[in-house]
């Protein structure tokens, strides 16, 4: 269980994105298509929710979980940060090299993986400084 939690969860939206991209062919039109019918809000304004917005929403939620996980300072979290870095490298290379990934949505996902890397070790360093580091009960 602890090992499963130490995997970078941001890989979920990335995999999800690529599965949809390779099955649909034209990713940009999929991302622009509306997921639900237009919602007319109380103010009279019309809210359009597209598939791309849902991707960003999902990634933001997972980024929150990642930041929460970054407060742990166990050895497992070191592996977590390392894998996060590798995920970011993979995202950056795909954004540059793969045609399906050249959208704003994927760019934002890439930026969020970068935030995961930087926020991850910054928070862990901060947290570890305040930690006296008694051995964890096993």
């Amino acid at each position: 269980m602890q090992l499963a939690l130490s995997l970078p969860l941001l890989i979920i939206p990335v995999l999800f994105y690529f599965i949809i991209a390779f099955y649909s062919g034209d990713m940009q039109s999929v991302l622009d298509s509306a997921l639900i019918a237009d919602v007319i809000l109380r103010s009279g304004g019309i809210w359009k929710l597209t598939v791309g917005d849902v991707f960003i929403l999902l990634t933001l939620l997972i980024l929150f979980v990642e930041v929460l996980k970054a407060t742990r300072v166990s050895t497992v979290s070191l592996i977590d940060h390392g894998l996060s870095t590798l995920l970011f490298v993979g995202c950056l290379i795909s954004f540059i090299v793969v045609k399906e990934a050249s959208t704003s949505t994927f760019f934002l996902i890439t930026v969020m993986t970068l935030f995961d890397v930087i926020a991850g070790f910054s928070i862990s360093l901060r947290a570890a400084r305040r930690d006296i580091g008694f051995p964890a009960p096993t």
Binding site: L114, V117, F121, L125, R130
Partner: protein, 147 residues
């Protein structure tokens, strides 16, 4: 203060400086500078060669020199990673930026498409990962009073 910059950037600038400008002074007069490939500049420019005791000639090329600088910079980086002040966090962040720049240049720029530049990129990646791993390990053993 200057110690808190990512030192890998020295090797990065060294490589780019040589790759951009070496064609102008290193090549024969009848060869146009644009025809000199960066891989050739680094592999074929001998800085010195020493005959070892085994009577084998050790050839030290410019590329070896760049790699040596990168390794020394990595050593300084790991040494710096053991400090846990707030400035160290900024240092790690800058290391990430240097790694991103290296990776993008390796993928996109023609003079950077060599094994040597790939090694510099990998060293920058090791700097990032080793940097925070060592930092977190060191911080756990640190009893900061009023830090």
């Amino acid at each position: 203060m200057i110690l808190n910059l990512p030192w890998i950037i020295v090797a990065f600038l060294f490589y780019n400086g040589v790759a951009l400008f070496a064609g102008y002074w290193g090549s024969a007069p009848d060869v146009s500078p644009a025809d000199v490939s960066p891989a050739d500049i680094f592999q074929k420019t001998e800085l010195f060669s020493i005959v070892m005791l085994s009577e084998i000639a050790w050839v030290f090329t410019l590329g070896d020199c760049v790699l040596l600088v990168a390794l020394l910079a990595l050593f300084v980086e790991i040494l710096k990673a053991t400090q846990t002040r707030s400035l160290a966090i900024l240092d790690h962040g800058l290391s990430v930026v240097v790694f991103i720049i290296c990776l993008i240049e390796f993928l996109l720029v023609d003079i950077a498409g060599t094994s040597l530049f790939f090694f510099i990129t990998v060293i920058a990646l090791i700097d990032v990962i080793a940097g925070f791993s060592v930092g977190i390990r060191a911080a756990k053993r640190d009893f900061n009073v009023g830090g």
